[in-house]
């Protein structure tokens, strides 16, 4: 009865280095993969577009155009959570003032497990004879006609 037990113990002691080596290898591979995810492919991506266009001077006109694409990610990168928040503000309070705002947000990462898209705009023409125009567009596709300062 003691002989089989001793035999099993001996086999276990002999096999221990092999098991330990396999475990270290697995651990090292996992660490390397995690490191790659943290640097190149993040787990979550958040894009916030929050422009403001406020005209308080009488008779003044302000035009604002904001075009923003999402973060550039490597091919095949699929973040677990992708969030985009677009909350623009357009306000014309001056007498006879005019505030024009155009916001375009595009290129949200595809293939995410959770995709959140929050679009909420505020447009006010509070001044006498004032004009406030606001246009908001949020799509998943990238916007090709980016202005020079946003390329």
């Amino acid at each position: 009865m003691k002989k089989p037990l001793l035999l099993l113990l001996g086999i276990g002691v002999m096999a221990w280095p092999l098991v330990a080596t396999a475990g270290e290898r697995a651990k090292g591979g996992s660490q390397q993969q995690t490191h790659l995810q943290q640097t190149d492919c993040p787990k979550s991506v958040t894009q916030v577009v929050k422009p403001k266009n406020v005209v308080t001077v009488d008779g003044e006109t302000s035009d604002q155009q904001v075009v923003e694409n999402g973060p550039a990610l490597p091919a095949g990168c699929k973040p677990l959570v992708s969030t985009r928040v677009v909350t623009p503000l357009n306000l014309a309070t001056g007498q006879g003032s005019s505030a024009n705002q155009e916001v375009e947000a595009g290129s949200q990462p595809a293939g995410s497990l959770v995709t959140r898209d929050v679009v909420s705009g505020t447009n006010r023409a509070a001044g006498a004879h004032s004009t406030a125009n606001q246009g908001i567009t949020a799509t998943r596709k990238p916007i090709s006609n980016l202005p020079a300062n946003n390329r």
Binding site: V119, H129, Q134, I136
Partner: protein, 202 residues
């Protein structure tokens, strides 16, 4: 003579109120084991001001849900009011709920919008369209395009609001949430104009 004029004005205001269109909400089929809610009612349309006009058009179509899925479509509780003298307020809301299959859930809420023309000779136009996507497998798809506010409170002011939210489809293990609502548009100054256009496509 004065009595006849007031009677005519009353008949005219009644005719304007009768002109508002509120089609009934359409409830889709729900199979056994599923939970489904379609609310398209409780819409209010009022023309209070003298010679004011208020028009409302609301459509809510609920999707279908099968197995363990949940499908919720709320397109109602919209308010449209023309308070100012000679004011005009027009509202149009369309909410189309998606379908859910398997263990998935789809919720489409395009309601709770408010449109008001309270200034004298003011005009307020509001148009809200929310189209919910489809969910299959164990996925979740939520589309919210409602809770928008549009008001022309200034004298001779005009406020136009157009909100379009199209929810995407989620399949397999994915989850997609689209919020295109909670927008505010207001023309409060005398003779002011506020125009807002919001488009969210998933």
């Amino acid at each position: 003579m004065k009595f006849r004029l007031s009677l005519l004005a009353g008949i005219a205001s009644l005719a304007l109120l009768a002109g508002s269109m509120t089609p009934p909400a359409h409830a889709g089929d729900a199979d056994a084991g599923s939970t489904k809610t379609t609310n398209g009612g409780l819409n209010q349309n009022k023309a209070i001001g003298k010679r004011s006009t208020a028009g409302q058009d609301t459509t809510t179509v609920g999707g279908s849900a099968t197995r363990h899925s949940t499908d919720t479509t709320n397109g109602g509780r919209n308010r449209n009011v023309a308070i100012g003298r000679d004011a005009d307020s027009e509202q149009s809301n369309t909410t189309v709920g998606g379908s859910a299959d398997g263990r998935s859930r789809t919720a489409t809420e395009g309601g709770n919008n408010s449109n008001k023309a309270s200034g004298r000779r003011s005009v307020a136009n509001q148009d809200t369209t929310t189209v919910g996507g489809e969910a299959e497998g164990r996925s979740t798809e939520i589309t919210r395009g409602g809770n928008n506010r549009n008001a022309a409170t200034g004298r001779d002011s005009e406020a136009d609001q157009s909100v379009t939210t199209v929810g995407g489809s989620a399949s397999r293990g994915s989850k997609s949430i689209t919020n295109g609502g909670n927008n505010s548009n207001k023309a409060s100054g005398k003779g002011s104009t506020a125009t807002q256009s919001v488009t969210t496509v998933e």
